[in-house]
Point group: C2
Chain length 569, copies 2
């Protein structure tokens, strides 16, 4: 039997390679060229017009040009396909590549517009990339498991069905880590995805294929998922915008997942894009399609223009933000600290107030959430690995040249202990604990009304999503900055702020470490390792406050652009 | 140790009796007077004005008179307290009775109105009764468990906090069955609640204390809960209106419960009243108070006037209803069949269309839901009983003169099997099964668009809530009519239609029985047993469609009133 699962992987990888049109294979840069962000524009594969199309990062502009037939969907889809395949050759970000199918669909949307004089829907003709969980009829969904090779979907998942109804063109699917429960992207079938800003570093995960692809502008809009940070970690490491919506706001039905049926801390799906307009346009298009008529678990709540216009937040004037400088689990690296300072200055310059966020019972929330996510004692993972004989991956370190492990034992393992099968009754007790923690955090948030001067509690929290920027493969652990949102079910966005700068981001003197992991992460920082990689932050709002969170992120984003001199006025 | 828990019960019952002002004790009718509905008006305890107040069933009228100080809250509260205590003496419907506290609060609302010239909130001065789960600071919440005697709440639950903010006057709490998981109302501490229409019959449960109390007009508005029918069964058996809202629409935080932490099929709270206006006014008042700022699990969704005005249902003109004549688990008794015929005729007379509802995978849904509700293998119940030594109640039959058990083994027991501790992972598999069933039922519902002629799927389903009207104590089993709503998370109301009539409701000839239980329930029907008891139906709408479901129930209720000649025009 030895070697059998490896053979399956090798065959599948060959099949993937064969799905790339040979004329789109490029002359690869040397392996030691770490930053490959400029290869798409320099490799010669894309025409000037294709470069113009793919470098139009605002999807609202692309959609406008598609809706007026100034650009055809076939040419837009072709441009992004080519660029995606360049990204694939550089960062290994893709799983399924279906050129003919995507172009047939693109043609269909072009014909519809020609014949009917109107668009199919709000995403007419737009190529969209999908994380390797969103099943499409007739395609495999492997999701990083050898045993899932050959598992062909009988139906589109609800998201894909809605995307088609909106006129979109799904065109590639993107890589994930085995089990999905890593903040990096590596599995035995498709291998490792790297960060296009620095291939020595991880793009994050689990939506890491999307992170690398969208960062390289190989897709105008990607859809990922987030159960513990999987949208926000790659968005942070790759300099993207995203939205982690609340449980059940967007339709997950029919997509495959790890820990299927685990509904205590639900995985959610969200967009990843190079501009915030992409996040808004996608979210509004999906909600406007009445997804609750296709997915019974989706909250029946229309897109609220009023909430987007910040009716609950003073109309967006004189907001009060709170910055989480340190979540008291792991202190952020200097570039994150600088990003928060920039954001504070930009917001104050724009007339908003900024106060400090006081952490509240974070270690308790962390332990409760991780215990829930591990309540099956890894049974789910073992079943999916056992079916093929592939081993459970226990480190994201490269096999050939492993990094020394920073931590002998991660904080999560310390919190959760060895794998344990919980009973249903024990899970119910964890729900009680989680419910009490959510109530306590809500009351804590409400109590800030005494400090804001606005007559309202803090409008939103601004925080890192990870305590550091993209790290070498195998060194991403977890630092609770994302888990808070999943456990409390807060609507969160990510927005890019700056890039690591060795001059500006000198190491800070050691602080009194919160724990062993905090110390290890402190020691990981050397300004030489990270220059040029993106630094992003998250904006955290209330549960089911997606519209307002997008609206407030626009305010932050515009304040930052103005502060950096990118906007006049 | 023998006898100890019985002693605790006896002492607690004495304490309850002592909380009744002696001057409010009435001359009791003989035990064999089965219908006690007219005792409050005939016993002489209530003054004519108190009778006028308590017989004003439309709470909007009571609220208007309170807001103009035409009636003071003290006199309204006194009137309902007296009538509640009459109801208590006749049906044993109460647990906590707190006359002084209620009157002090009533006085406070009167003073506020006098001093400020405005009401505290939308429920200003209104006495409200609460099922014995809604904790109030300083009071015990016994919830039918001996071991909970003496368990004094440190805080108000969120609902009570909001009711106070709305100006309401909580004035009594009401009886429940041990474990809450019965459709009848009996426990070792407070005993058995009877049906005021016929004390030989059960008022239903688990919100059976509310059912008996509100039916006797001992409360203008009661709040109960529903995890498997516990609002709808007593509303059906006692002739009331109710709303079973979707999971997490109304704030449950801080209320105690059975199976605490079980969130797969969440218990929900809802109003019970003698008019639909009570249901609407309560629901709107709670939602308008932004309950998500006090209970982190409440869906952030404003009361939608548009949805109430049936924007998603053609503005309420020419609706298409579907009647579930038989859910293919248990066929309804003749009075229910007649109630459905009346409703059909009334709706058609009002210009609406009525088609038949086709049952869809009901036995699968039933089994999945009941397996989830029993996933802890009764561990929760055993813990709470074990703490005092009281036995787990295994039948609702009266101890002294037990009815012969109709069924040797209930359908639920057959479906679920012997008690079994499920693992968290097994519970996740049940979630997957439930999710697929919800999707399948949604698609089934959507597909009715081809039969309605309205361009929409069926607007709402009309169905029994139980296959029969109130039955003798110990004979209520379950017939899936309510469980469907809990498992699928549909918004459901109850509305009364008629009363059992021995002449009109002759037994039907035997049908081909769906199962052993269906046969037993068929045989239970004799027209002599039930005359004069209420017959109600439920209206079933979509998940989180509370406003529209209330709006459609108004249409049905008005059609029925017009059909019966109660409304002109």
């Amino acid at each position: 039997m030895s070697g059998q699962w490896q053979d399956l992987c090798a065959a599948r990888k060959t099949k993937q390679h064969d799905s790339i049109p040979p004329e789109w294979l490029i002359q690869l840069p040397p392996d030691d060229q770490l930053n490959v962000m400029d290869v798409p524009s320099k490799c010669g594969l894309l025409t000037p017009r294709e470069l113009e199309i793919t470098e139009t990062v605002d999807i609202d502009i692309i959609l406008r040009k598609l809706s007026t037939a100034e650009w055809s969907s076939v040419e837009v889809t072709t441009a992004f396909l080519k660029r995606a395949i360049v990204a694939q050759q550089l960062t290994n970000c893709l799983t399924e590549i279906f050129v003919d199918r995507a172009l047939t669909r693109a043609k269909e949307t072009d014909n519809y517009l020609r014949d009917n004089g109107k668009v199919i829907g709000p995403l007419h003709g737009l190529p969209i990339s999908l994380k390797d969980q969103f099943t499409m009829q007739g395609l495999e969904t492997i999701m990083g498991y050898v045993s899932w090779i050959g598992r062909v979907a009988a139906n589109d998942c609800v998201l894909v069905e809605i995307l088609y109804n909106c006129g979109a063109v799904p065109f590639v699917r993107t890589n994930v880590p085995q089990t999905l429960m890593w903040g990096e992207t590596f599995n035995h079938v498709f291998g490792r995805t790297t960060n296009p800003y620095n291939r020595y570093l991880t793009p994050g995960g689990s939506s890491g294929g999307e992170g690398a692809l969208v960062a390289m502008k190989g897709s105008p809009l990607g859809v990922g998922t987030d159960i513990d940070g999987s949208l926000r970690i790659p968005s942070a490491f790759c300099g993207l915008y995203t939205l982690r919506p609340s449980y059940e706001r967007l339709p997950y039905y029919g997509a495959v997942n790890a820990l299927q049926g685990q509904e205590s801390i639900s995985s959610v799906l969200g967009p990843m894009a190079n501009t915030l307009s992409g996040v808004k346009t996608f979210t509004k298009a999906i909600i406007d399609s009445d997804p609750w008529l296709k997915d019974p678990q989706v909250v029946r709540k229309d897109w609220s223009q009023q909430e987007y216009e910040l009716v609950d937040h003073g109309g967006g004037k004189n907001l009060c933000f709170a910055i989480m400088w340190d979540n008291e689990v792991v202190r952020p690296h200097p570039p994150l600290h600088r990003a928060m300072e920039i954001t504070k200055d930009a917001l104050e310059a724009a007339g908003h107030k900024v106060i400090d966020w006081v952490p509240h019972r974070h270690m308790e929330i962390y332990k409760c959430a991780q215990t829930i996510l591990n309540a099956d004692g890894a049974h789910d993972y073992m079943l999916d690995c056992g079916a093929s004989g592939e081993p459970l991956i226990t480190s994201m370190s490269p096999e050939i040249d492993p990094h020394p492990t920073t931590l002998e034992e991660t904080l999560i393992k310390k919190l959760v202990g060895p794998p344990k099968h919980h009973s249903a009754w024990e899970l119910w007790q964890l729900h009680m604990e989680k419910r009490e923690l959510r109530k306590s955090y809500l009351d804590h948030w409400q109590a800030t009304i005494s400090q804001t001067g606005t007559g309202r509690p803090v409008d939103a929290i601004i925080s890192p999503a990870v305590a550091y920027t993209a790290v070498p493969h195998g060194l991403n652990s977890d630092s609770f900055y994302t888990t808070l949102g999943n456990a409390m079910d807060y609507s969160c966005t990510m927005f890019p702020v700056t890039y690591v700068d060795a001059e500006l981001d000198k190491p800070h003197p050691p602080h009194e470490f919160h724990n062993h992991e905090d110390e290890a992460i402190y020691k990981l920082y050397t300004p030489e390792l990270f220059p040029g990689t993106p630094v992003g932050l998250q904006l955290i709002g209330r549960t089911l406050e997606e519209e307002a969170v997008i609206g407030m992120t626009e305010i932050v984003d515009n304040a930052l652009k103005k502060f950096r001199g990118e906007l006049s006025g």
